[in-house]
Amino acid sequence: MCPAEPVVRVMVVDDHPIWREAVARDLEAAGLEVCGVASDAAQAVRVAKATRPEVVVLDLQLPDGSGVDVARSLAAFDEPPKVLVLSASGEQPDVLGAVGAGATGYLIKSASAAELVDAVRATARGEAVFTPGLAALLLGEYQRLSTGDAGGNPALTPRETEILRLVAKGFTYQQIADKLVLSLRTVQNHVQNTLTKLQLHNKAQLVRYAMEQGLDD
């Protein structure tokens, strides 16, 4: 184990036993601690409550409901774990839902073991893990919000849009930093902001919806 890298406690949620085991094995081989696994949504919330992982690697297609609901339940914990979505492509609306509910990263299942380990470590450090697919989903969502009739929707700054488009076109953060003559940290912050704004907006909307429905207590 590399002493420079802290041990990260990870939980793996996937209904496919072979996938779950393969992912858990890859993470353990890289020196991470897999503190729990779950194969459905209800189990995921239960195990997470009991084992308190730092990072949850979450598949969105679960037999008893969507991973989006799991992400939402985990976000409601007192000390919510960070959520990295590891899902098949072609589930765009669900990915957007999970990210809106608080997930901070999205990796497609075709990613290599090394990419997965890097992504889990980055998630544990609090960095957003973006694929081009996720960047395009966010661009589309902000575009949708900007054309909606309701005011007060979050919008991207021109700089954030520029950076998000570059991420969507497959540039790495370092390449973007070089291209725009910015520090790597600044690029990361901008990307992070695009995600945080949307999550805050969704949270506010949920609260507003709850108040309108008289569900608040």
Binding site: G90, P93, S110, L139, G140, E141, R165, A168, K169
Partner: protein
């Protein structure tokens, strides 16, 4: 319908019971009531049994109704008829008009109404205001009733059609889910493990990955949109993804007219073919689909060696417009624009805008 016949039969019976002592031939009145009762039973069974061949029954139905109206002449005294006494079957005859309207539509209903009305007028010997009222009501029942029934049948047909289509979509979604949950997961796993092992297994992994991509595109491709004139380009563009081509699209459908959509899709395919031809086998490409209220933008970027400075201009000047130019041609033909940006060692980016 049966309920109507029965109620009006009871009404006619009550009238006959009340008036029979004033009839010219009371016995005949009772006999005709028996015929009406018999026909009520026969027609009720007949219409239920003869689905599709009810026309004979309709003619008999209208014939008996007309006969009953005219038979009033034989039963009633002419003094009472002139005084405005009702016909023997009263409203019972309207049942035959309604039956025609249901089975044969507004024209059938209308014709039956005309026949029964003619009998009414003949029985009375003149078009009195009272008879005129009856005629109008019969015509309305036949014509409008037939029209409404036709509307109802058409609505029922389209509901049936829609539910068939929905069942097909549902079945397709079920299959997609099934394939997604099983086959695709295994293919993805084989691809992932195989690449790590490398060598010949790595080749197998690429095969599995290619199958995964195309199967995924197959099950996720949207059913053709209800409006045949527009198409969601995301499905086709997503199907262009491969081990070296990464496709990123928004979550919502990207609808374009068939013509613009086709031009855009062939331009994107051509741009990707160009990447494969010129940027080398291991060059990667990223396809990004973005939407604005008034246009759709697709950019295709690769990390190949790029086009040497001046080569595009030189080709253009020499009249050899090449593949790049055919992309431009296609897109400009549908009112779009193309920009090509390339620098040595920084890859090439083709950005295509088309109007929505």
């Amino acid at each position: 319908m049966t309920a109507y016949r029965l109620l009006t039969l009871v009404y006619a019976a009550v009238l006959i019971a009340a008036d029979h002592h004033q009839y010219r031939r009371p016995a005949l009145g009772w006999a005709l009531l028996a015929v009406m009762a018999a026909w009520t039973v026969v027609s009720t069974y007949g219409y239920a049994q003869l689905a599709g061949r009810e026309r004979v029954l309709l003619v008999a139905d209208v014939g008996i109704a007309v006969g009953m109206v005219l038979a009033t002449l034989a039963v009633q005294t002419s003094a009472r008829i002139d005084a405005g006494a009702p016909t023997l079957p009263v409203a019972w005859v309207a049942a035959s008009v309604l039956a025609c309207a249901v089975v044969a539509g507004p024209w059938g209903g209308g014709m039956a109404a005309v026949a029964v009305s003619a009998a009414d007028v003949a029985e009375r010997g003149a078009l009195t205001p009272h008879t005129f009222n009856g005629v109008v009501l019969l015509l309305l029942a036949g014509g409008v009733g037939g029209y409404v029934v036709r509307l109802g049948v058409a609505a029922e047909d389209s509901v049936a059609e829609a539910s068939t289509a929905m069942a097909a979509v549902g079945e397709r979604e079920r299959l997609a889910r099934e394939i997604h949950d099983s086959t695709l997961q295994v293919l993805a796993l084989i691809a992932r493990r195989g690449r790590e092992i490398g060598g010949e297994t790595g080749d197998l992994a690429e095969l599995a990955a290619a199958q995964e991509t195309s199967l995924r595109a197959l099950v996720s491709s949207a059913a053709p949109s209800a409006n045949g004139a527009s198409t969601d380009i995301r499905a086709v563009i997503s199907a262009m993804a491969s081990a070296t081509v990464i496709v990123a699209t928004p979550a919502a459908a990207v609808e374009l007219s068939q013509v613009v959509g086709d031009a855009l899709l062939s331009a994107v395919a051509e741009a990707l073919a160009n990447v494969e031809r010129h940027a080398g086998a291991d060059a990667r490409a990223w396809v990004l689909v973005e939407t604005d209220p008034d246009r759709v933008t697709v950019s295709i970027r690769d990390d190949g060696p790029g086009i040497p400075a001046g080569r595009l201009e030189a080709a253009r000047a020499a009249g050899r417009l090449g593949v790049a130019q055919s992309i431009v041609g296609r897109i400009e033909a549908v009112g779009g624009t193309v920009s090509i940006d390339s620098r040595p060692n920084e890859g090439t980016e083709v950005e295509i805008h088309v109007p929505r």
